[in-house]
């Protein structure tokens, strides 16, 4: 199975360990992983700001980079959701459609495609799981608290396979952290307050680490934690699942 690894630009620059863990984890399950070096961005920053019409070039490039693979996997629910919902190319719509269906966020790729049942991982810490909205409500990685429906969690089921990991309960299981792309600066006051409140919930329940499927949310909460001088760390879920 050939997988094209799609790494969001800020992960590439600031959180290489999340990307490395993603790659190593996939390789552990016998997947042939390639990182196309000419990749840039999914175009979400423009689209969410109202400039989806400017993402034509990004889309063409994305298709060119990732067309050859059986699947495309990214350690980000948000970027994957954007591709799933908005990857189009009038000149090559057939390819775009195929790609929209074979792009996966890492944890759902592990549970749904690789059907991982056990992991050789150990992480002896108290961990709070942040449900990033785009992964959870957009990609339906976990059941949403608003709905009257059976609970499930794809990332949660993987964390349960990690030895000695203590997954803490939260007061609000799936409240947004307030990052929201450019929202974090255009609506600075509300965004920061949302971030502080989300972090406080984890701290209140004794988290040593806050994890999640989206580094952007974690980066936001990391900024809050560091400013408060907290020792609590953020860590991408790939790093936990890959921890030995």
């Amino acid at each position: 199975m050939k997988v094209g690894l799609f790494i969001p630009c800020y992960v590439d620059q600031f959180y290489p360990n999340a990307a490395i863990a993603t790659l190593q984890l996939l390789e552990k399950f016998g997947v042939e992983v390639t990182y196309p070096l000419t990749q840039t961005c999914c175009g979400q920053p423009m689209a969410n700001s109202g400039y989806e019409h400017l993402t034509k070039g990004c889309n063409e490039l994305f298709i060119k980079n990732f067309e050859p693979f059986d699947y495309i996997v990214a350690p980000s629910g948000s970027c994957v959701l954007h591709v799933r919902e908005h990857l189009h190319d009038p000149a090559n719509e057939e390819a775009a459609t195929v790609l929209r269906h074979k792009v996966y966020e890492l944890t759902s790729f592990l549970t749904d495609i690789l059907q991982v049942k056990e992991l050789n991982a150990r992480f002896p810490h108290k961990v709070g799981m942040h449900q990033s909205c785009h992964g959870q409500r957009g990609l339906k990685l976990s059941q949403m608290s608003e709905l009257v429906a059976e609970p499930f969690s794809k990332p949660g089921s993987l964390l349960k396979m990690v030895k000695d990991l203590d997954l803490i309960e939260l007061g609000r299981t799936d409240e947004c952290c307030g990052f929201g792309g450019t929202f974090c600066v255009t609506e600075e006051a509300v965004s920061a307050k949302m971030g502080k409140d989300r972090v406080a919930d984890h701290l209140h329940h004794g988290a040593e680490y806050i994890t999640g499927v989206d580094m952007s949310c974690l980066m936001h909460m990391e900024g809050i934690l560091k400013r408060a001088g907290s020792k609590v760390k953020v860590i991408h879920i790939a790093e936990i699942l890959n921890a030995e």
Partner: protein
């Protein structure tokens, strides 16, 4: 109505100056969201009800022309007088004319967000007509000379001490009384006198039934009924989207409405007005005010399904932390942010951006409006229509150009330069809003790309 030159972000920043109040506001509304959860989880058929309601409402939108005619015919046959208002101005003029015909200059009004949308109180005040809002929350904000901050909980932003001060000033309660029980009793006595002396009553409409020509008004306080049954004339204002096809459909909507709104199984009163009392006319005003235009916007017409339960506000993490007044429009929160631009794109260009697109609103919506998707679509629309700052457009174009070209992207050797330059949260200076309350991420020695290249 709030006339403000400040946008949502600026108004929300003001609201956030008092963090304790933000916490209180957030927790109060979250508590209501939890009550809603607890209540809806008792109905295994909840999601099926939402789906049915959504389909019924879509059927209404797809057949609105005929349903309106059917309603008009049946209501008229019931002895109700039907009026049509193309816009807010015409609505207000109709109300004024009816009051003049009945020689009335004092009116009692139960909750109607439509009259807030139309600015009816202000208009009638200019004509020398006194309007008293009879919903307790609305009466409180009316005394405070503020608009409601929430469509179901009009004074959710006010603390009981502030309400005590208002009542002390206007209703003569003793100073420093802040007990909700005592304050409500004072309002009861004050408004009872209003009900007994006003000869005209205006109510909103929750649902109108095409099949029977009746309309349903829901309250917990009983204020709509007290007003309507004691007055000589009852005026009911409704948006044209409030229609439902058949009476039996009320079974679906009344099950959904209050559970979504406040977590109650139903409002205390769900009153069905079909025929007038003897010699006391009922006038119903069907108001368009932009709704027929919204109906033509394929991407946005679903917003007309809204039954005004306010669940999207209670669940919205942004609304809970910015307060309703930050939305500077009659209907605040997520639903307001997709309704308002239809009325005035320029004035409300900020609202679709007052969201993280987290999607919780769409999940609680009892008629399954794709609210967060519409927020995204309004952003595209606003950009296309030129309502975004030129500087933003220039930087977005530059960003698009760079991201389309791996050569440009990697031109400087390290792609990090691009990220550093363009990511809004990474500008390393103290004027950067990110930095105000959050630290910057630290750049590691080696990017993933560099690591990968070395490895292969």
């Amino acid at each position: 109505m709030h006339e403000s030159t400040k946008d949502h972000a600026a108004l929300a920043a003001l609201f956030n100056k008092d963090e304790e109040r933000v916490n209180w506001h957030d927790e109060t509304l979250w508590w209501i969201r939890q009550k809603r959860d607890k209540n809806v989880h008792q109905l295994p058929e909840w999601e099926a009800l939402r789906e049915a309601a959504s389909q019924i409402k879509f059927n209404v939108l797809s057949n609105l022309h005929d349903y309106l005619l059917e309603f008009e015919k049946n209501a008229t046959a019931n002895g109700v007088q039907v009026h049509w208002a193309a816009d807010a101005k015409e609505h207000n003029e109709i109300v004024h004319r009816l009051l003049q015909e009945h020689k009335v200059d004092r009116m009692v009004k139960s909750k109607s967000m439509l009259t807030e949308e139309c600015g009816l109180n202000e208009y009638l005040a200019e004509q020398g007509i006194e309007v008293i809002d009879s919903d307790l929350g609305e009466r409180i904000v009316q005394l405070a000379k503020e608009p409601p901050s929430h469509i179901v909980l009009p004074c959710i932003h006010k603390k009981k001490e502030e309400i005590g001060d208002l009542f002390h000033q206007y209703l003569g309660t003793p100073a420093n009384v802040a007990d909700p029980q005592l304050l409500t009793e004072a309002a009861r006595q004050h408004l009872r006198d209003v009900f007994l002396t006003r000869r005209a009553a205006l109510t909103g409409v929750n649902f109108a039934v095409a099949e029977t020509g009746e309309f349903v008004v829901c309250t917990n306080e009983g204020n709509a009924d007290m007003g309507a049954h004691l007055a000589d004339v009852h005026i009911a204002s409704m948006g044209i989207e409030k229609l439902i096809p058949e009476r039996k459909h009320l079974g679906i909507f009344l099950r959904l409405l209050t559970r979504s709104a406040t977590g109650q199984p139903i409002t205390t009163y769900s009153s069905h007005f079909k025929k007038p009392r003897k010699e006391t006319p009922i006038h119903i005003i069907l108001v368009d005010n932009g709704r027929s235009v919204q109906l033509g916007r394929k991407e946005f017409r679903n917003s007309l399904k809204c039954i005004r339960c306010g669940a999207c506000m209670n669940t919205c993490p942004v609304y809970r932390r910015s307060g309703g007044h930050s939305y500077h429009t009659a209907v605040a929160g997520p639903i307001g942010s997709i309704l308002a631009p239809n009325l005035d794109m320029k004035k409300y260009k900020d609202l679709p951006f007052a969201s993280t697109l987290c999607g919780s609103c769409s999940n609680v919506c009892p008629v399954k409006i794709d609210i967060h998707d519409q927020l995204y679509k309004w952003r595209q629309e606003l950009v296309k229509e030129g309502y975004t700052p030129a500087a933003k457009t220039i930087s977005m174009k530059l960003m698009a150009q760079t991201l389309s070209s791996p050569t440009l992207y990697n031109a400087a050797g390290k792609s990090g330069r691009f990220v550093l330059k363009h990511a809004p949260f990474l500008v390393n200076n103290k004027l950067n809003p990110w930095y105000k309350e959050r630290e910057m991420p630290e750049a590691p020695k080696e990017s993933f790309r560099e690591w990968y290249k070395k490895r292969n």
